[in-house]
Symmetry: C2
Subunit: 226 residues, 2 copies
């Protein structure tokens, strides 16, 4: 499947325009790509019976699409196949501790992607989408594990959401009250970073003796997510 990258600039619609003051919106396509590449868990927002529902699930992203399992949106899709979803991917980078409670918050990077997900039916795209999803969480795993057979492929509903309508918000750095009168209070202010790290792989309890942890899994130990 040949894929040409999208425009280097995101094109926020009215839905993706930034309304808050302290966070910075980014129109940089690269910011979206690196944000998506840095994680594997998203929150999918759908409307079910007239109410919003927000479901966490794993995703995979390539240049054009975000892939996720249809099960999370199945009721919504059945009820309204043309309905929009909003998929949000967030990395929390730390706490922002200001002099005043009013200026407290968090440093984070977040992407929101809007669109109508397409059910992937082409078997080749389905395989490449599942590969994308598998490799996103664990690079090297697609070539290691047993790939889906025909029955499993048929039992899997894979959704593809275009990255065309996306928005990125990033909050970084110090609190915002360092130059106002509160700076005279003599209070400590700053940030407390949050770091997410992969730990040591834990073998399945039923693993036969002699099966070694493959290098691509072992190498993950101690590396950062996000």
């Amino acid at each position: 499947m040949t894929q040409s990258p999208l425009s280097p600039e995101l094109s926020p619609s009215d839905r993706t325009r930034h309304r808050r003051l302290r966070e910075q919106g980014s129109k940089d396509r690269g910011a979206l790509d690196s944000l998506l590449a840095a994680g594997f868990m998203c929150h999918v927002g759908v409307i079910v019976d007239g109410h919003p529902m927000v479901v966490p699930t794993v995703y995979g992203a390539d240049d054009l699409h975000l892939y996720f399992h249809g099960s999370v949106a199945s009721r919504s899709l059945v009820a309204a196949p043309e309905a929009t979803v909003c998929v949000t991917v967030t990395h929390v980078d730390g706490l922002v501790l200001a002099r005043s409670v009013f200026e407290h918050g968090a440093n984070y990077r977040s992407a929101m992607i809007y669109g109508t997900p397409r059910v992937v039916v082409d078997p080749e795209e389905k395989l490449s989408g599942l590969r994308c999803l598998t490799e996103q969480a664990t690079p090297g795993q697609w070539d290691y594990a047993r790939r889906p057979n025909r029955k499993e492929l048929a039992a899997t509903t894979l959704l593809a959401l275009s990255l065309a309508e996306a928005s990125v918000k990033i909050r970084t750095g110090d609190p915002d009250d360092g130059e106002g009168p509160d700076a005279e209070l003599g209070l400590w202010a700053g940030t407390v970073p949050l770091v997410t790290t992969f730990g040591e792989p834990r073998p399945d309890a039923g693993l036969a003796p002699g099966i070694i942890t493959p290098p691509h899994v072992l190498d993950r130990t101690g590396t950062r997510l996000g």
Copy 2:
């Protein structure tokens, strides 16, 4: 404010019934409480102009409510003050690497809370809600930082969402294909834990010399979130 705890059993509505197979739904009120206590970031799902929108934001939870800033839902609230939101709090505990791609997934704990958020107008509840929000992320900070003044309180829209309609889903442990024919493939399977840890506090660049990091912030270093 005296608050009696809710029923020890969650009461899932049709919206909060579990539909997937491998995750375990919990009806235990304690599971919800500990899940909420273990984080400070949630994803708020609202309907804006007929479309779902999922926004990350900080929260605070007490026995009865989840508090969050109204700014994230403001457009939605103005358009439909009686509208339902769905707030989801997720802790990702690790990767689940099975023998077959089909059984791959993540270990996680997730809570979904449905309801119509109430704008907190009573000044005393507003202060106690903001305290809850501040202490959730950084215990000890409410007594350390400068508290909101009248002007700041007026400028803050605080929402309270009842915890009465909530649902918890937890996926833990080994992959699910350890007893089937795939166990004979000789492939490694297991889990890779993900741990989120607070790092060393970073003083604001503009901090006057001699201001020490307060113990309640310093003590966070190296502790786990989630």
